[in-house]
Amino acid sequence: MWTVVACLLPLLFVSVFIFGIQTLIITAVSVASCLLVEVASQKALGRKVTVADGSAVITGLLIAYVIPPGVPYLLPVLGAVMAIYIGKHLLGGLGYNIFNPALLARAFLLATFPVAMTSSWLPPLRGMSIFSRLGRPLDAISTATPLAVLKTQGMAAVSQQFGEVPKIYSTFFLGLRPGAIGETSGLLIVLAGLYLMCRKYITWHIPVSVLTAIALLTWIFGGPDYFGGDPLLAILSGGALLGAFFMANDYVTCPTGKIAQLIYGTGIGALTVLIRLKGGYPEGICYAILLMNPLSSVLDDWFKPRRFAPPLGGVK
């Protein structure tokens, strides 16, 4: 698990340069509270304390990566309680949670602090010092994410604010745009994902099916006409990459069979596009993954591994 942590860390360092030291603080708060809640819940429930396995650190990092970097510090703390205690330990601890803890925390925070969670985005620093934002009131600097702009104002506003196609691709790919830490640098996420794939920690099935479904469906339905959407932009904007490589792939909450994984990934992609295009939120991958999570055990049940050979006379 520490490998995954290591893969996630570069993203944090880059985000410090893009958004300022604020991101580091919020991540630290999130990770620390996750560790604390993990220890506390394991103590309270009389279980062995296993913070060293790194799973709480991953959850902490992911919570910080999916919330706006400008939120009050209380939010990641409450998110940690939801993710670690309610989402994981009450259900039996590591390996028994049904939903991805970090995303559960995000959904919870989004419902509980709708304003902070939808408006505390920071614009890239563009040459300012990374400390320059400390202590400044947030609403003076907050801005909107590309997907939110797209949802409320349309593609023209996105181009105006973030640049024209194709320059916008490179801007997004490098992460120079407002967004959660984990949404920023597509480049680093892809690199980390490919590394994990090479090390065989993850397989290609889920990321590829998620991204393919998102790209394909956005291409078909996402534009003013059919087959007029911009698939590349859909993948680069929002948390699609982080979700596909690091969240949908969460071992505990994804199916194990390969066919099941492909269906699961496609489902996530389809729901993401559905929520993005028709839903009430600008970004849908968080909820798409949460919605597919409970299906993973069902899918595994339906697509059981093929037995070597059934016993003669059939299975009883």
């Binding site: 409450l78 309610i86 919870f108 419902a111 509980t112 602090f113 709708p114």
Partner: protein, 204 residues
């Protein structure tokens, strides 16, 4: 067969030992859906109390005339009648509260708790006993709803019965509709915890 319990025992039984919400786990829909304030809990509690008491008394009164083969339809008819009456009364005299509770008043008709009490208790017992049992069950439901409402209103809005108590809003989460699931789950666990602790203390 007549119960040997006193009226007080019947009432406390409904509130504590056989609390419809936390013990029997019946009638959960309103407990999740509209337990956001104490007032809501109280209003629906009153409605259920009336329906329960009236139905219990009616069935108990007519228990000798009810043909056993049409027992359940008769119960349903009785409950539906009283629910309709309560529904109309509330709609007429308390339109604001009625609007808040929406469809739930009419749904009392499908509350398992009421049918269950008729089947288990009222069809065998005297009118008085049924009355007290109905009161107990209704109060138990009201108590459950109100305690849930208290927690959710206090933690969600910082108020009790609409009066500002805390002066700030601790956590919007608790008044959100879906939080009802968490609140009910946590409160049940809380009561379980108390019971376990109580039993442990008793044994020690």
């Amino acid at each position: 067969m007549a119960t040997d319990k006193t009226s007080l025992q019947l009432v406390t039984n409904g509130i504590l030992n056989e609390n419809p919400i936390f013990r029997l786990v019946l009638s959960m829909c309103p407990a999740v859906g509209i337990s956001t304030t104490v007032m809501n809990g109280f209003m629906l509690g009153v409605a259920v109390l009336f329906v329960q008491v009236f139905s219990s008394c009616t069935i108990s009164l007519f228990k000798n005339v009810i043909h056993p083969r049409i027992r359940i339809p008769t119960y349903t008819l009785t409950i539906a009648t009283w629910v309709t009456v309560i529904d109309m009364v509330l709609a007429a005299y308390m339109p604001v509260a009625y609007a808040k509770m929406g469809i739930f008043i009419k749904l009392i008709v499908a509350f398992a708790i009421i049918t269950m009490r008729l089947e288990m208790f009222a069809c065998k017992e005297s009118v008085t006993a049924s009355f007290w049992d109905g009161v107990g069950m209704g109060l138990g439901f009201m108590f459950g709803m109100m305690s849930l409402g208290l927690v959710r209103e206090l933690l969600g809005q910082g108020t009790i019965l609409g009066h500002d108590v805390l002066g700030f809003k601790p956590l919007l989460f608790f008044v959100l509709p879906f939080a009802g699931f968490f609140c009910v789950g946590l409160m049940m666990a809380f009561f379980n915890y108390i019971e376990l602790a109580y039993r442990r203390a008793k044994r020690a």
